[in-house]
């Protein structure tokens, strides 16, 4: 045991932590890398695809109807994924659809996240009757089958991209609220929150500086887990004609269009379906892997 004076003058921890091993050592590295790559390809395609492959929702070309994948069009260009019942290029439609799907997914999560985190933090932080009311509201929300609720609201509001976002946000805020509330409850009893209060902090300052930063990691994990199901729900609504209007070519609309031609033009429904499945599965893997790495407590989500 060294004496007091030398303890005072010597740093107690090494100035730089030992370099962390990179590579496949941490949980889920491989899965994260794989799924993140797939997701980025989709995002890239959604952002830049429609610039490269022009798509016009009202342009029709009757000579090019129902051409199988790999056919030459009448103007000489190659239709890699074939064409649909009015001769529109399927690749262009899918790229445009990726844009809609991802945009709707992100916007829904933002809206649901803002609503959910606000409600969850208020309920968890202030407690008492407010907690009771808000969480019972969440319970009631959960008892409705979300797709049924979505159909109901979509029928009231009519089909549009904004309405889809609203509908899906309403049926998805509960998870955010619950996770945020749980995180608040475990954080607000920690000493540093009391310590900040003894230094003269207001409630709003406590929430912003102590509570919210602690919520970020689990909320991001939840968002990644949820985005796949949101994209799938958007496609389902569009397939049922309650989501995006037919002039907006989301995947659900395209799949729905191709349903009548399944026997002689399988590609119209199948290819956007595969695109949808691959994206949803990738988000699922990414969400799982991120949860395993950053917040294993959420395993039962």
């Amino acid at each position: 045991m060294s004496d007091v004076v030398s303890d005072l003058t010597r740093p107690t921890a090494p100035a730089t932590p030992p370099p962390r091993k990179t590579g496949g050592k941490r949980p889920g590295s491989g899965r994260i890398r794989f799924s993140a790559t797939v997701v980025s390809i989709y995002v890239f395609a959604a952002l830049f695809g429609p610039w490269l492959v022009r798509y016009d929702a009202v342009a029709t070309s009757t000579p090019d109807r129902l051409l199988p994948p790999g056919s030459r069009l009448s103007d000489g260009s190659l239709a890699i994924f074939g064409t649909d019942d009015v001769g529109r290029d399927l690749l262009a439609q899918i790229l445009q659809g990726a844009r809609i799907s991802i945009a709707v997914g992100v916007a829904t999560l933002l809206l649901a996240g803002i609503i959910g985190v606000t409600i969850g933090v208020s309920a968890g932080y202030f407690g008492g009757w407010l907690d009771g009311v808000l969480m019972r509201l969440a319970d009631i929300q959960l008892t409705f089958p979300s797709i049924l609720l979505a159909i109901f609201i979509a029928a009231l509001l009519g089909p549009s991209v904004v309405n889809v976002v609203i509908v899906l946000a309403i049926s998805n805020w509960v998870t955010f609220a619950r996770v945020a509330r749980a995180q608040v409850l475990s954080t607000k009893g920690r000493d540093f929150v009391d310590a900040t209060r003894t230094l003269g902090a207001r409630t709003w300052h406590l929430i912003r500086r102590c509570i919210l930063p602690a919520c970020i990691a689990p909320i991001l994990v939840v968002a990644t887990v949820e985005i796949g199901s949101v994209i799938l729900a958007e496609a389902s609504l569009s397939f049922l004609g309650l989501g995006t209007p037919t002039s907006t070519p989301s995947w659900g609309v395209t799949i729905s269009n191709g349903r009548n031609y399944l026997s002689d033009a399988w590609w119209i429904s199948t290819i956007p379906g595969i695109a949808l499945a691959v994206l949803v599965v990738s988000f699922g893997i990414l969400g799982d892997a991120l949860r395993d790495r950053f917040d294993p407590k959420l395993k039962n989500l």
Partner: protein, 343 residues
């Protein structure tokens, strides 16, 4: 030092009168602090001693307004700071005192710093928010403060996160934050309990040095009799939510007049090895939900008689001693003069 009212040497800085704090639990209402009164004068150190559950931490939480809600609440008494009752003043006014006039150091330095912000930022936040410093001014002030509390290589470490520091260093950072705005009253709630023994001595030394330099008053809450002996002026012994003995530190240590204090003294090992066995206090602390009638110490007390079961003794002056030595025992004079270690 900022003093809104002209300093008066005799007037207490903080005056707690008949404080009662209750906790609502599933099993019933617990009176964690029951009629506690004391004064803290400017510049002095008052030690509050007691075992777990004696109400010493709850007293400090009541003063700082951080009782766990909604379970705990102050049900009676006054906490007067410089003439203003903190319990009846508007919350916004009381909040302005926190951090600037009175601040607190917590028991566990591992959990009392915000894990997501850099330490320099957390120290500097005091200057930015209360004094309106710019970012760079606050950073310089934080580095200066880190050097003052003995953090080596402060300039290199100012941008580290709390988890990169050892427990002792984190407690120093906590002390730096608490002292940033030169408070007149510091409450230290078991500041060394979570630290290694060698580090304990360093941190205590630092606290008493800074206290002398700043001339601030300190309430030192602890269960460590050794920590108290070297740094406190006066002592307040608590048992089951009540004050059982109070007075100047030397006086209470050498002329203990309450059986509980005496028992604690007897349970400290002595360096001269007079006895090879320690003398513990018999029994265990009472259940606060079901306090014994009369004096709550009587089931463990070797001096207990019938009167102790019926009548709860008041905190009264020990007549045969000079000064302000008071004890809550019917037989305080007898306990004082009794040389036997009966406890």
């Amino acid at each position: 030092m900022s003093t809104p009212t002209p300093p008066d040497e005799d007037a207490p800085l903080l005056s707690v009168r008949d404080l009662r704090v209750e906790f609502g639990t599933r099993a019933g209402v617990v009176t964690a602090v029951d009629g506690v009164s004391f004064d803290v004068r400017p510049g002095e150190t008052l030690a509050i001693l007691g075992e777990s559950g004696s109400g010493k931490s709850v007293t400090s939480q009541a003063i700082m307004g951080i009782l766990p809600k909604p379970a705990g609440r102050v049900v009676g008494g006054r906490i007067v700071y410089r003439g203003a009752d903190l319990l009846t003043r508007p919350p916004a006014e009381v909040r302005k005192l926190r951090g600037t006039e009175m601040s607190m150091v917590f028991q566990d330095p591992l959990s009392s710093l915000n894990p997501v912000f850099r330490v320099g930022y957390q120290i500097g936040e005091m200057f930015r928010r209360h004094r309106g410093y710019s970012r760079s001014e606050a950073r310089e002030a934080a580095i200066e403060l880190m050097e003052r509390v003995g953090i080596p290589a402060a300039r290199q470490r100012v941008d580290d996160f709390p988890h990169q520091f050892s427990g002792g260093m984190r407690q120093r950072i906590m002390i730096a934050i608490a002292l940033a705005l030169d408070p007149t009253l510091l409450i230290a709630d078991e500041p060394t309990t979570a630290l290694d023994v060698t580090v304990q001595a360093q941190v205590m030394k630092l606290l008493t040095r800074l206290q002398r330099e700043e001339g601030m008053a300190m309430i030192l809450i602890t269960h460590d009799l050794g920590v108290v002996a070297s740094s406190a002026d006066r002592v307040l012994m608590m048992y089951a939510g009540r004050v059982v003995e109070t007075g100047d530190i030397r006086e209470v240590y050498e002329y203990a007049s309450h059986p509980y204090t005496k028992g604690l003294m007897a349970s400290i090992p002595e360096l001269d090895g007079r006895s090879d066995r320690l003398t513990p206090i018999k029994g265990s602390p009472p259940d606060l939900l079901d306090l014994p009638p009369g004096c709550s110490f009587h089931p463990r007390c070797p001096y207990a008689r019938d009167v102790c079961v019926q009548d709860d003794p008041d905190l009264l002056h020990v007549e045969s001693r000079p000064g302000t030595h008071r004890a809550a025992c019917h037989f305080r004079e007898e306990v004082l003069t009794d040389d036997r270690e009966r406890v």
